[in-house]
Each structure stands twice: as structure tokens, then as C-alpha cells.
Symmetry: C2
Subunit: 312 residues, 2 copies
């Protein structure tokens, strides 16, 4: 597999190669030292699929359903009710409304999510996330979740890394949910995963004590928070940012520096045959991309293949 | 300069070498893969000196004094009063009291500190920190602040890095204050600096927008927060931790994992001739080190030299 072989010979591939050559050409006007080559990627809908619901939501719903199985009183309350009855419509709408700026039902969902894994250690949480990701199947694509990453994007990560970039995930999804698989799926080591998280607390004790999850949101790594979280973790502005929704807009805008080349990629889900076709929650980002000449990556036109050919 | 040449042939150097050989010997029972070799270091009093006051406090005081020069009304209020009159006794006591568990005056100092650099961009703040660190002299040691790192600890960082470790700074000091010099002084890249920080906010605008500092504490990376912050940033437990005060106790305790070797170093300031002699704020940490067999690093006995011989 050569570099970017899963990309068609289109405008997006050309823009990527042109950008990488500019920043890596020794002695060139736009050369950037390797230590300063930072690329940031949203995860849901950018590196792996997020429909019919984000993969982490499936993980959480299974846990909520198990809680409702144990405790019938929970079945009358959202989000346990939706989890128990597999009412994915309600859930999907909460997420889409969020990206459209309507957060009225989000606290109901968030409260349930925070309860779902409260009080367990970070190691226990990671083991559960890891087991889920290695065993669960995507509901419609006929492949396991570990095979739901976009092959062109994985190629892009490898191409950037081979050109001296440090790739980071800057996702609204849970940092500790993605960490067990980020190296294997994306070649991104766990310390380069930035994401949302609950509050954690260290409790002294035998063998180094324990870090436990509290039922309280610490940071939601989305929207205006993304540039701040990237700066806090990396200490640099990114040269390249890739996203797919309105929540990625600030991060994409942030990937610009005076006198330096930058590349902003917006994945457009327009491929109902191979993946999904939706722009809900991405309207502003698409408008901005068109106004500012950011690179829109049409899955249908820019990608020769979407997923790896042989699901594991 | 060989590995650990600035260390005497004492117990601390032997413990370090024995530990590193155990975790790096291929096929050994205690071998740890390189990706999992994480070492964390406090900064003030562990990697560089912190007396008569933390270096960052000098930086802040100069700014507060400049503010009081401009606005006489500030001269009647702490901490501007102390800064204006160079009353370092009051300031030092606030810090020492904090490490002894008494935080009654800390909010007064904190409020001033938060005002000192409010509203400026992270790039402006970094430029000011960088200029200060490159120009200011330590008040008593007769050397610039950039020459105030402990040479044996810098050697240790290099020795660990040469043995596949990723070194992180986990300091109560300001993350954005240390970042401009962490690579040059310690070989630790900016993304591996964990520390305290004010709240930041991204503001959209030309050229990628700006990230500005708000007059509000975001995280204080000290005490119980250190294990949580290390986990959040690294996603791993450290194998080695080094500190010097009670605020490092949780981090030192955290550097232990079932079935894995660990090393905990506690720097003891007992060298009035070459550096300083104090245990205030370190009493519990020293007690714990003695009870648990952690490695106490006496500056007087374990270090052949304290600072680099030729101040730049």
C-alpha cells in the first residue's frame, strides 16, 4: 500500500501532498521544523464512523440497558428508558440537536452517561472499553467497531507521521474510551489522545492507590474548548486540523498561523452506499469551509475505498 | 560527561542504576517495554532551586511591582505591597504555610498572581517568561536562572532518556512558564510539561484567533491533583517519580504498580554551602520516604556538584 492509495486522484489528495511537501522541503520558504509539525484530528465522523450513533454511545447504552435490567425503576427514566427499549431515535436526536446548538435534552443524557461508569477505576473503565471495542459489531455496516476507521484517514495519519508530524486526536469523545485502541487503530499513542473526560480522583492505598471516575463532567472537548485543550496539551498551534462537524469549527479555524502554511480538512459524509449521507450538525462548518477555501473531503468523490477491505 | 558523573558513589546513584538496569534488561523478569517507561519530575526544588522563593514568584513579583509603580493605589494592597517593598518574608511564608497545610493567606497571593498576566495571549505570556528566564539573576547564587537547574538531575534526565524513558515535568509551577525553557534546560519537550494553569479561552479572529489568559485558576497541579493530572496527560502510571515536598507525596506514592519495579526519589535540601538547607514543607514526605524505603537524595552527600560549573 503506497501513501494515500485509498484517495482518488482528486483535489483533496493533491492539497494534502502539496501541503506536506511545502512544510517538509529542506530550505524551502515554508519549511517547518519537525518538532513543530502538529496535526490534530477529530475522531467521531472524521477517523471512524459515528452513525447511526457514536460508537461510545453504543458502549454506554449497553451499560445503561444492563443497569435497567437490574433495576426496573430505571426503565421509566431517560436515558435508561431509551437504552432499555433500544430507542436510538431519541438518542440520535439529542446528539444532532447539540451540534445544531440546541442542548435542552443534553443534560438528561449526560446525567445517565455520568452514572454509567461512576466509581470504577480508570483501569477497569479501560478494560471495559477495550473489551467492547474488540467484540462489538457495528449495527449496520457488517463489521466490528475496530474495523470502522476510515482507511484513507489512517493512510493520511501514516503519511503525516512518515513526514515528521506528531498526530493528536482532539475529540469530543471520551479520552479514556479511545486510548486503549488509538495506537492499534491509528498509530497514535495514548498520550496524544485529547478528549472529553469525567472528573477523576486519586485515592491513596496499596500499590500506588487508585484513580476513580466521579459522576461529574470535567471537560467537554468540543467547540470552543478544542483550541484551548490542544494548546494546553501540546503547547503549539497545529499546522493541520481535520474534522467533520460544527464542533470542529474552532479547531479548524485555530490551525492557522501567520507566515505558515496550514491545512484544514472537513470530511463530508455524502456516501450513502459505502457509509452514510448527512450534513446535520455540520452546516456551519461546511459553510465556513466553502467561504474560506478549506479542503472539503467528499467521501464519495475523494475516497477510493472507505473501510479496510477485509474486516478482521 | 559520563552518565550520572555528578552523583557521588552513594546509595542514591546505586538505586537509580539498579532500577534502570532492571527495567531495561531484555528478557529480565522486570523488563518494561520502552513505551511504558514513564518518569515524572516535580520542578521547583527538584530540578531547579526554589529558594529564597520559587523562580516563577520572582517573575510575578516583578510584574506586580511594575503594576504598583504605575498605580499607587495598589501599593496598599497585598500582594502588590509586598512586591513594591520587596517584602519577600511575607511571600515566602505564604508558600511555606501552604506546604504545611495552612492556606489562609494563599487566596490573597493567588488573586494578585491571577491579575498579573490576565488578558494577554499565551504567546505574549510565553515571550515574557522566556525573556525573564534568560535575563534575570538568582538573588543569592550569583548565576542566571537558566543556570539554576541541578546538574545531577539534568544528568538523570539524560540517563533515563537514553534508556528509553519519557520524562515529564509534573510541577505545581505554571505550565506555560516552564514550557519555553524545558527543552533547553532539561531535554523535556513542551508537550511533556504538566503544571498549574489559569483558565484559557480561545477567541476567534484573524490568523487562527487568539488564546488569552483569564484571571481564574484552572488547575493547581499539586498534592492530590498530581496523580490525576499525570494520568490524564500520559494515560499511564509512572515507574519513577522525583519530588522534594509534601505536595509531591501523592505523585511519589502513585509511582508504584503491582508486579513492576518503581523508584521514588525525594531530594533533601541539606546543603547550606552549595544550595540551601530546609525541610519546611517537606516533613511528611521525608517521614513517608523513611517509612517506605523511598530513596532520599541528600544534596550534600549524594551530589558531587549541584550546579553546572560555568554559569552561562
Amino acid at each position: 500500500m503506497g501513501a494515500l492509495d485509498s484517495w482518488t486522484d482528486g483535489a483533496a489528495r493533491a492539497a494534502i501532498i502539496e501541503f506536506v511537501e511545502r512544510v517538509t522541503t529542506p530550505g524551502g520558504d515554508d519549511h517547518v521544523p519537525p518538532a513543530e509539525r502538529v496535526a490534530v484530528f477529530d475522531n467521531d465522523g472524521t477517523l471512524w464512523c459515528e452513525k447511526p450513533m457514536p460508537i461510545q454511545l453504543d458502549f454506554i447504552l449497553r451499560r445503561l440497558a444492563a443497569m435497567a435490567d437490574q433495576d426496573p425503576a430505571l426503565r421509566a427514566r431517560q436515558p435508561w428508558q431509551a437504552a432499555h427499549t433500544r430507542d436510538y431515535g431519541w438518542l440520535g436526536q439529542v446528539i444532532t440537536s447539540h451540534y445544531q446548538g440546541d442542548d435542552r435534552e443534553l443534560p438528561v443524557l449526560a446525567a445517565g452517561i455520568l452514572q454509567a461508569f461512576a466509581g470504577i477505576t480508570v483501569e477497569d473503565f479501560e478494560a471495559q472499553a477495550d473489551a467492547f471495542l474488540r467484540s462489538a459489531q457495528h449495527p449496520t455496516l457488517g463489521r466490528g467497531y475496530l474495523a470502522c476507521s476510515y482507511r484513507p484517514m489512517v493512510e493520511l495519519l501514516g503519511y503525516l507521521e512518515a513526514n515528521g508530524f506528531a498526530n493528536y486526536i482532539a475529540s469530543g469523545g471520551g479520552r479514556d474510551f479511545m486510548r486503549p485502541i488509538s495506537q492499534e487503530m491509528y498509530g497514535i499513542p495514548r498520550q496524544r489522545v485529547i478528549g472529553s473526560s469525567t472528573t477523576l480522583a486519586w485515592e491513596p492505598g496499596e500499590a500506588g492507590g487508585r484513580i476513580v471516575r466521579k459522576p461529574e463532567l470535567d471537560v467537554v472537548d468540543d467547540g470552543l474548548a478544542k483550541p484551548v485543550r490542544i494548546w494546553s496539551r501540546v503547547g503549539r498551534r497545529p499546522l493541520l486540523a481535520a474534522g467533520n462537524s460544527n464542533g470542529d469549527l474552532p479547531m479548524l479555524a485555530f490551525a492557522e498561523q501567520p507566515g505558515r502554511p496550514g491545512l484544514r480538512l472537513l470530511v463530508l459524509h455524502d456516501d450513502p452506499t459505502r457509509e452514510f449521507d448527512y450534513t446535520a450538525g455540520a452546516e456551519q462548518a461546511l459553510q465556513r469551509a466553502r467561504n474560506n477555501g478549506w479542503t472539503v473531503v467528499s467521501m464519495q468523490h475523494e475516497w477510493r475505498v472507505v473501510f479496510a477491505e477485509t474486516p478482521p
